[in-house]
């Protein structure tokens, strides 16, 4: 079970990183989140597995929906090319991955870790302050995200004016091109008649 899930998670992660379209990237990330949630449930962390199934994919979907509805569709558009420094990124990421693998393979003590108490018990009795901090962090993040990304009435007016100006310029450019094409056609016909 672990090996099947691990392979699927790695494939989903590769899809999230290598997919050319933003839509495919978001789908791969959601698939990866769901697979990680299933892995956590298989590992015995039931509550956490359910949270992992819902929370990250939900946040990503929420961001995508808010961006689409608030006039930020261009952010979700496809930018297919890679950054110019992708070979350096590949070398650094591969190096850190190998370092992590080597460290864990040589230093892991199989008796480390723990089991027994449920997550709710641990959160309630063992780490109540951390739980409070995490809850506050989540609330502040949502409020901060909405505040940072909000658009005021004046910004909407400016956006509309900029869009209208762009359309006007586009129409003028098209008219000029048509006029030039018609003139070239007329001249060509006149030259042939002579």
């Amino acid at each position: 079970m672990f090996y099947v899930l691990a392979v699927l998670i790695v494939v989903a992660a590769l899809g999230a990183v290598l997919a050319p379209s933003t839509r495919q990237v978001l789908m791969a990330v959601m698939a990866g989140d769901i697979l990680v949630g299933i892995l956590l449930i298989a590992a015995g962390a039931y509550v956490l597995g359910v949270i992992a199934l819902v929370a990250p994919a939900g946040c990503l979907l929420l961001v995508a929906v808010l961006l689409r509805r608030s006039g930020y569709e261009a952010l979700l558009s496809d930018i297919p090319a890679w950054g110019s420094s992708w070979p350096v990124a590949a070398v650094v990421a591969g190096g850190i991955g190998v370092l992590l693998l080597w460290t864990t393979a040589t230093r892991i003590n199989d008796s480390a870790g723990g089991g027994g108490q449920s997550l709710v018990t641990v959160l309630h009795y063992g780490t109540p302050i951390s739980l409070g901090v995490a809850a506050v962090l989540a609330v502040v993040a949502v409020a901060g995200g909405l505040m940072i990304g909000r658009t005021g009435d004046d910004e909407r007016l400016l956006d509309r004016a900029a869009e209208q100006r762009r359309l006007r310029e586009e129409r003028t450019r098209m008219r000029r091109q048509h006029r030039a094409a018609a003139r070239a056609q007329r001249d060509g016909r006149g030259g042939a008649a002579q």
């Binding site: 990183v17 990330v29 990680v36 992992a52 990250p56 992708w86 650094v92 864990t104 993040a141």
Partner: protein, 104 residues
């Protein structure tokens, strides 16, 4: 073959490397955020794997740690999306290579 902490650690390392590569190499803001999400899932897998591989003598603190990591991931996604929207308004592009206003 038994699945031990080393297996979870290996999977976590692979996920971390893939996510790091995506964050450093993708040009689209949303794709970089998605890669960051992959990167963040690495410590979650490691923490839960270590907690699961124990012998029941200690509370599952690894699960609690993974939960806090997940809340940080959600916060990062929401705030990151908002910052991406703000940068797009300023620079009129979603291409990270063209967002020169935030260069140091």
């Amino acid at each position: 073959m038994n699945v031990g902490p080393a297996h979870y650690a290996a999977l976590s390392a692979i996920l971390f490397a893939i996510g790091l590569f995506g964050v450093a190499s993708r040009r689209s803001t949303m794709a970089a955020l998605a890669s960051l999400s992959v990167l963040f899932s690495a410590p979650v897998v490691a923490a839960v794997g270590f907690a699961e591989s124990g012998h029941g003598s200690l509370p599952r603190l690894g699960d609690a740690l993974a939960l806090f990591t997940l809340s940080a991931l959600c916060a990062e996604l929401v705030v990151g999306g908002a910052v991406a929207a703000l940068l797009w308004r300023r620079s009129d592009t979603a291409d990270l290579d063209e967002m020169t206003e935030v260069d140091g």
